[in-house]
Amino acid sequence: MDKNQIIGIYDHMALENQENAKYYFRYLLTSLGEVDKEFVREAYDDMYLKAPCLLTSAIGPFDDGEAVRRFAYLLCEKLSVNKFSLISVKKYNEFMEHIPPVENYLSELFAIGEIIENQQINKLGIFSNIFSSKF
């Protein structure tokens, strides 16, 4: 997987004591492991003006699929990355049912998701991209 890409695996679920199911990210991944919680907090705060729930494997909540996409885009901007691959847990499980090769695991996982492109960064020149990268 390219270092300028993020994978977000999300689920629709209800946390304990919650009546209605909402969208949560299970994992937010880059080629260097999980996305730093601080960036997640900042992006969520920018979007909802409040702190997110940052439990292990439950980052959110988001009201609907559109909010999930908006957050993905916001995170792309925050981290200055090109692309975000949104993957539902159902799709992830379909992927895991067929043994994926460890060597290209993240690249292949990235490829199965709904790709959200950071239009802003794609408009920048090569030098701007290099100097704005946070990885």
């Binding site: 695996i9 689920d11 679920m13 209800a14 304990e16 299970r26 994992y27 991944l29 880059t30 080629s31 260097l32 492991g33 999980e34 292990t56 494997s57 847990v89 992830y92 499980n93 895991m96 049912e97 043994i99 994926p100 460890v102 695991y105 993240l106």
Partner: protein
């Protein structure tokens, strides 16, 4: 599975850590030379590999077709080296094996974990191992047959080596999650039958989740009981094993080559506090090198396993060597059902971790060794949920025999609460009732016996720092002698203890403190040498500086540094 002789792989793949031996990874003719060359411990752990012995039609091979499946030969080789064999038999998925150790023919229903995802781990060779549902009827029927044949084989081959059933799992936020947990479609038919039999209908999600966990426990116990039944002379017990690097979030870190060694280091000590064995079998030698390997070596895991068996730690032999130091026994009802732990919810655990580090042990109410002699040093914490008359009287018996007990009456059955009051009146016990944040009743018997009663429900809406102070006050009344350590942020601590030897007549006890710095930063630590403690020696110093000023020991530990310090304890 092919019938050819296995290809001999590198040493790490045969010896994955903590004296484990993967017998299926090398030729039977090389077992002796390899073990002679590599093993220094007294006991060799042999995890049984169901899939390796499995043949078509649920038949099994113990040496008839492949010599590598000949367990009698393996035991003979190990014993000829003057070492003991300990067999491990996984219940459910074994993360170090492909398909979690299930035979390929039975690996058909993928397991689903609490995150609603198919669980997978990376082993030390970088292979991805996925898990399958242990609730699939074909799996547990076949496992039952395997255990039956194994039992017959052990009997006929006169293999007397101990067998431990192992419950493999991982830690998430310091809580143990078994790989046996599964919410896949494999669970559904059995669970539906269970609901029908128990007459449960119209369940809300919370109730359904509780019942699912209960059902999972029942099936787990069915597996365990099969092992007990067919291997009665070898059965030693059940032990939980937490696999470092085996958590779902570790999977994604590790697939990106980003192992978090400091998290593993923390897990090792957290696990011991909970009576769980840590295993580094999923980690490569490269990751384990350094502070983590030293930490694992210092723990003396075989002795810990002996302790799990209920062997008397106070026996003269047991007291001559260092054992993990614990002041508190925290007893929970059915531990797998209560997460987080009740003692975490009432703020006790965080206070103990802050001041006593790993000095506590969790026990399940059902497995608690009631009949053992009461340790005068330990404080026993119980709470009302699921206590029956028998258990309540056993608790009171501990107190009457001079033990120290703290009883939380939250969720205690009303009839039992009345019995408790009658017991206090009938025995004419001196009782002191005070109000410190909540109502507390303190009973004393002679010099030693103490019983503190309170109701944990009264903590509701009380501030966390006040609850922390409450526990500090309660614990301070028990006069526990211990050294306080300042500034151990990011440092992992581990206390061990043994009796004073014949040449240490001034000391009743010797305590060894081991400190490890798995972080990338230099850390400073201060230990106040209060009365009753004498500094004996500093040992195994790696990347550390120590100096003493005004009865205080100052330690600087560089990244990857560690040391141990022995203190003599006298009264």
């Amino acid at each position: 599975m092919g019938l050819e002789t296995p290809i001999i792989q590198n040493e790490d793949s045969i010896f994955p850590g903590e004296n484990w031996f993967f017998y299926w990874k090398t030729s039977a003719s090389l077992w002796g030379p390899k073990l002679r060359e590599r093993f220094i411990g007294e006991s060799i752990i042999v995890p049984l590999n169901w899939a390796f012995h499995y043949a078509a039609g649920d038949t099994v091979d113990f040496g008839k077709v492949r010599p590598e499946t000949d367990l009698k030969r393996l035991v003979t080789v190990i014993e000829s080296l003057g070492k003991k064999v300990i067999f491990y038999l996984p219940i459910g998925a074994a993360p170090y094996l492909p398909n979690g150790g299930f035979p390929t023919a039975l690996a058909s229903i993928h397991a689903i974990n609490k995150e609603n995802m198919i669980p997978a781990v990376m082993d030390f060779e970088g292979q991805l191992n996925k898990f399958f549902s242990p609730f699939d009827p074909r799996v547990y029927q076949s496992f039952g047959k395997f255990i039956y044949h194994l039992g017959e084989y052990f009997k006929n081959a006169e293999i007397h080596a101990p067998v431990w059933a192992i419950n493999c799992g991982h830690f998430d936020e310091s809580q143990f999650f078994s790989y046996f947990e599964d919410f896949s479609k494999g669970l559904a038919p059995g669970f539906a039958q269970y609901l029908e039999v128990s007459g449960e209908k119209n369940l809300d999600p919370v109730k359904e989740s509780i019942l699912k966990k209960k059902f999972q426990n029942i099936i787990f116990n069915t597996y365990r009981d099969a092992i007990k039944k067919y291997l009665p002379n070898n059965w030693e017990g059940l032990v939980k094993i937490v696999f470092l690097g085996g958590a779902p979030k570790d999977f994604f870190q590790r697939i990106s080559m980003q192992d978090k060694v400091s998290t593993y280091s923390q897990t090792v000590l957290n696990a011991l506090g909970k009576g769980i064995l840590p295993s580094s079998c999923l980690l490569s030698e490269k990751i384990k090198r350094g502070v983590l390997s030293r930490q694992l070596a210092d723990l003396n895991l075989p002795a810990f396993l002996e302790g799990m068996k209920g062997d008397d730690e106070d026996s003269s032999d047991g007291r001559k060597q260092f054992n993990a130091l614990a002041f508190f026994d925290l007893i929970e009802p059915l531990d797998s059902l209560d997460r987080p732990s009740y003692w975490e919810k009432v703020g006790l655990l965080s206070m103990l971790q802050e001041h006593f580090h790993t000095g506590y042990r969790f026990h399940g109410l059902l497995d608690y060794p009631w009949n053992e002699e009461v340790s005068a040093h330990k404080i026993h914490f119980f709470y009302g949920k699921e206590l029956a008359t028998k258990e309540l009287f056993s608790i009171l018996n501990i107190f009457m025999n001079g033990g120290k007990v703290v009883l939380d009456t939250s969720e205690l059955d009303e009839a039992l609460a009345r019995r408790l009051s009658v017991f206090i009146l009938e025995n004419n016990l001196s009782s002191e009732k005070i109000h410190y944040l909540i109502k507390i009743e303190c009973l004393s018997l002679g010099d030693e016996g103490r019983l503190v009663i309170y109701n944990g429900d009264e903590f509701a809406e009380k501030q966390a720092d006040k609850i922390n102070n409450f526990w500090q006050k309660i614990i301070s009344t028990f006069d526990i002698q211990h050294l306080q350590i300042e500034g151990p942020d990011g440092i992992e601590l581990f206390w061990r203890s043994r009796a004073g030897l014949y040449n240490e007549v001034n000391f009743e006890e010797v305590r060894r403190l081991s400190l490890y710095n798995p972080t990338s930063y230099k850390r400073k630590i201060k230990i106040g040498l209060n009365k009753n403690f004498a500094l004996m020696k500093v040992l195994d110093e790696i990347h550390v500086k120590t100096n003493i000023q005004n009865s205080e020991l100052f330690i600087e530990i560089l990244p990857e540094g560690s040391l141990s310090i022995d203190f003599g304890v006298y009264s």
